[in-house]
């Protein structure tokens, strides 16, 4: 399958996005903010469709709008990010807004499907460099805030007393999550971002008790699921996003069973 140009591009793109999503996703799961991540991806839908409407690149709209919403959520503090109802409302509002933008943009059907469910085989090789650079910057930023982030996630009260700026850390993480969401959406679409961002991380947490291993395992699982999904899609001609969600689900529920069994 590697004789095809579009497959090589798809492997590269999904590999970059998966490693970023798996790594960032671990922290999201650690903080119990997975729903916030899910909502961010929906904000991305509004951002992308809005950008198309105004003649901008949908990827720029996706990154820009999710980052904006992410920082806003972070600055409102843990309190808001924890509030399921507020987040759920933002999520549906964003989808509704995206629908409105699509309504004004006439030839929208394929664009919408690609945004919602991903189209990794349609990733342009010229976009690879952007994906790679954004991923490197995001991972570097994550490493810079990593220590205070883990501390603040595990024991916020103690971290605050020791002088860790909780809000800054929270906003910075959600900005990084926003970039990861945007990259992931290229592969599996905004509706299925959970599958690469949360699935592998949650499985990794079930499989190891050591923090460094869990981060590495999460990234590794995300990569395997993305590439496995692509391979299966190539041979079955079924949608890639379906295969990735199937593998992600399999690994997650397998990890739950393994944890039960290990007791």
């Amino acid at each position: 399958m590697f004789e095809y140009d579009f497959m090589r591009t798809a492997f590269a793109a999904s590999g970059i996005a998966a490693i970023l999503a798996g790594t960032v996703g671990y922290f999201l799961v650690l903080r119990g903010q997975t729903f916030a991540g899910h909502a961010l991806s929906h904000a991305g839908f509004a951002g992308a469709t809005g950008a198309v409407l105004f003649g901008l690149s949908p990827f720029a709209g996706l990154v820009g709008f999710t980052a904006l919403i992410g920082v806003a959520m972070g600055l409102f503090g843990e309190k808001l990010a924890d509030r399921d109802v507020a987040i759920g409302m933002m999520l549906s509002l964003a989808l509704g807004l995206g629908l409105l933008f699509l309504h004004f943009y006439t030839s929208a059907a394929t664009q919408a499907a690609a945004l919602l469910f991903g189209n990794v085989l349609g990733v342009d090789s010229s976009a690879l460099l952007d994906l790679l650079l954004l991923a490197i910057v995001s991972l570097a930023a994550l490493a810079l805030i990593g220590r205070p982030l883990v501390f603040a996630s595990l024991q916020p009260e103690l971290a605050e007393a020791r002088g860790v700026p909780l809000r800054f850390v929270s906003a910075a993480l959600l900005a990084i999550v926003a970039v990861a969401v945007a990259e992931c959406a290229q592969i599996v679409g905004v509706l299925l971002v959970f599958t690469l961002m949360v699935g592998p991380a949650a499985a990794a947490i079930n499989l190891t008790r050591r923090l460094p291993f869990a981060v590495a395992l999460s990234a590794g699982l995300a990569l395997l699921e993305a590439w496995g999904g692509l391979t299966l899609a190539f041979y079955t001609d079924w949608p890639t996003s379906f295969w990735i969600t199937a593998l992600s689900g399999l690994v997650f529920f397998g990890s739950v069973a393994a944890r039960r069994f290990a007791r």
């Binding site: 595990l154 103690l158 002088g163 050591r210 923090l211």
Partner: protein, 269 residues
Amino acid sequence: MSALRFDDVTIKLGRRDILSAASFAIGDGEFVGMLGANGSGKTTLMRAALGLVPVASGVVSVLDRPVTRGNSAIGYMPQNRGAIAGSRLTGWDVVASAAIGRRFGFVRLDQTARHEIDWALDEVGARDLARRSIGELSGGERQKVLLSQALLGRPRLLLLDEPLMSLDPAHQKSVVEIARRICDDLKVAIVFSAHELNPLVNAIDRVLYLGSGAAVIGPVDEVVTGPVLSRLYGTQIEVVRSKGRYFVLALDEDVDVERDAHRHDDARV
């Protein structure tokens, strides 16, 4: 030199005066038990010393210096430890996250930091416990692991907020003994809040009792008396002493002093 000193301190939360012109001083290396009803300001007092709660008037000083945020001379154990109890990470990783958690940048967990973590765990006798997942430990075991974090950075003052909460008597005893030993061996002052005096009474040097915005410090025999507590609780209190144990009874049956003991989980005062 005093480890912690409040001079005429008033603290307001919303419209309520938590402390009004309260003054007391805790000496260097002194082990003080802090008691008082729910809402009397035990947690707030600690948070004020940590610079997390502003004082309306008066001066708080820590080791004769003004309060600063993130003061490394203070070791703290917060009361609200709920989330960590569900974590699958090992105790060691949790303590490690606290040990280097203040620093931004590419921070490696180097040999010095590892030794410091092991040392802190050894001080509380939790080195072996820390190999296990923090969520799988019993309440008392987990408390020891978390207590070790207060020792990181070799502070001179420990603020321990309700370390005995929801522990059985055997674990209560062992946590109090550990605190006493830390106080003696490391020469640190300790403020140890609790909702019951009896587990602490043989270990502490003095008691700090809060109530009605006031703070009274002194030997247990002088503070835990009917007249002093009646003033602090704002109702008539009788103290019965029997076989080295203290029983605080409210004569007004609407006030249930002991009941306060069981409502701490949802209280964030």
